[in-house]
Amino acid sequence: MNSFNYIELVRPALPEIFLALAVMALLMLGVFQKSGTEAAAADSARLVTGLSVVTLVLAVFLVGVDARGRDEAFCGMFVTDPFAVFWKILVLIGAALTLVMSGDYLVRKGLARFEYSILVLFATLGMMMMISANDLIALYLGLEMQSLSLYVIAAFQRDDARSSEAGLKYFVLGAVASGMLLYGSSLIYGFSGTTNFNDLAELFYAGQAQPPSIGVIVGLVFILSGLAFKVSAVPFHMWTPDVYEGAPTPVAAFFAAAPKLAAVALLVRVMIGPFGDLLPQWQQIIVFISIASMILGAFAAVNQRNIKRLMAYSSIGNVGYALIGLAAGDETGVRGVLIYMAIYLFMTLGTFACILAMKRGDRMVEEISDLAGLGKTHPMMALALAIFMFSLSGIPPLAGFFGKLYVFLAAIEAKLYALAVIGVLSSVVAAFYYIRVVKVAYFDDPVQPLDTPVNRSIGVVLVLTATIVLFFFAYPGPILTGAAAAAASLFGG
């Protein structure tokens, strides 16, 4: 036997391997639990969900402990660097918090089956693979693993027509997006002869005498379209409101948090990594997508009555703001994207925790008008909701203000003045509908109060996210330094 160290060979992918093995073990555990009656199914779901949260927390530690600069595995198809570590920790936190707060809703709707947590874990594994992809094929496989799990959990409430519709709609449009992505990848491969990101970056090095061929540009645009669908940026956003509204609320919370972060991470890695020196070619596309998303997110949400649809348009707008940083295309810009999305994660999860706490009797309600009088009946929850809404509209000193500040600063430094001005103006418009929610909660008379008390696990998520959003300005260190290191690692610093 030779003394070749196999563990060292796959060490960069250790968190992923751990997660994959854990998912399979939990799947077996769930299958062999008794699930004859609804109560037994709920018990096994609770057990598997609990263990899934533990798995995710362990994965966070594995990701964090093993962070040691740039490292590649599997013949350069898998890469881990501070950039990947930053995103992976956020995605894992997002998935764990979603699992924590979804249990009550699923039991109430008779959806408590252990496959829910299994599919969330599979999706998370796919997201980690996306974030670490260093090859077009690895990118596609990670994306597909994530998307397939998401299609299924969107339709998880299979007896409900709207949930099935959401799943089907997401599946069909997602398949189209995957097709575009694959077509773009095949063009890139055909015109360059490689799928590896390092080789592509070398091929498209800016110092070359001849400009990149038209086939590469067309391929790049196709890849960009496919990824824009996954981050739900305009003009590929049409599925978002319907899917968020139709899918069970915890699923919508998950969609708005973890997968969106992973897709933005992937977009940043693909654009800055292999195609970084083609910035002049893709910058205008990102600028357009960003402006269109911000404007649509601001104006389309004004008329929404359903708070899940409102959050869908809000997430479209927020992706627009994050893409401002990518449009800048430099280290400051990427740092802005990282900070923005980190803060967005906590604001969104917090808001969805509030939505999950909205129940009256046995029914879950999701109209904005149902929040009337929340300030009197649920002072703490109303306070948390107000914090998230003010933060989403970017009022200092809440966290959302700093997120916007860093991307706008990057845009100004990159001389993208129009982008920054449109961003500020559209966030003024967006502030209208965010603050209207606060007005309804505090100044409208309650028609019929929501149930008290709020479920304990949802309360924990609410307090945690609200604390982070409220006190970010006092202790911004971890996110700021992490984002700076991550952005630097992407630019070879």
């Binding site: 595995a73 599919l119 693993m145 799990s149």
Partner: protein
């Protein structure tokens, strides 16, 4: 050499004949059986070309899974194939046009090889064929080393799709008579057989 040529003509003639019978036979079950025959002969052609892995995949995937799936659809769903077939001939001009276009494209490609021999190199594989190693072996060597990550990831994706299909379609039904092997074995002849004396001219 002559044996190889004979085998080629046998496989290809049977494949083409079976293909014609697939679309012309009246009974859909016969169509599926002819389809399986066509697949087997195509697999034989692959073996003749030295692509034994493709031949195996063709048999395992197309015959083993796809054709059996067709068979299930044909036999279990109540589809009126005669009604489907009505007005079949009105699509003939369009079908013929598509066929002609494909033929013309093939001629352009083959003509290109004849007129510009250097163009044939474009379609050649990027690496020379590995000598004295079967292509199954060669595929295994690259799939389990260089592409192990993608191979395993694909496996996980298939697992996800399996879990997803079960989550979305599996329902626990009441009143299903499941086989319970324990109960079957626990039965004794004494408990389950009852002897009755039937008097002549009377029922039980």
């Amino acid at each position: 050499m002559i044996v190889k040529a004979l085998a080629f003509y046998m496989f290809s003639l049977v494949a083409v004949g079976a293909g014609v019978l697939v679309i012309s036979s009246r009974n859909p079950v016969h169509s599926v059986l002819f389809l399986i025959l066509a697949f087997f002969n195509a697999a034989g052609l692959f073996v003749l070309m030295g692509a034994e892995f493709l031949a195996m995949i063709l048999v395992v995937v197309y015959v083993g899974a796809v054709a059996v799936l067709f068979m299930f659809v044909v036999m279990m769903l109540d589809i009126n194939f005669v009604a489907l077939r009505e007005g079949f001939l009105q699509y003939l001009p369009l079908g013929a046009l598509v066929g002609l276009i494909l033929l013309a494209e093939l001629l352009v490609i083959v003509g290109g090889w004849t007129f510009a021999p250097s163009a044939a190199g474009v379609g050649a594989p990027p690496r020379a064929a590995i000598a004295n190693i079967s292509n199954t072996h060669a595929l295994g060597k690259i799939l389990y080393t260089h592409y192990i990550y993608l191979f395993q990831a694909s496996g996980m994706i298939l697992l996800v799709s399996m879990v997803g299909a079960i989550v979305l379609t599996h329902r626990r039904r009441e009143g299903v008579r499941r086989q319970d092997i324990g109960r079957q074995l626990a039965r004794s002849a004494k408990a389950s057989i009852e002897l009755k004396k039937v008097e002549p001219g009377k029922g039980i």
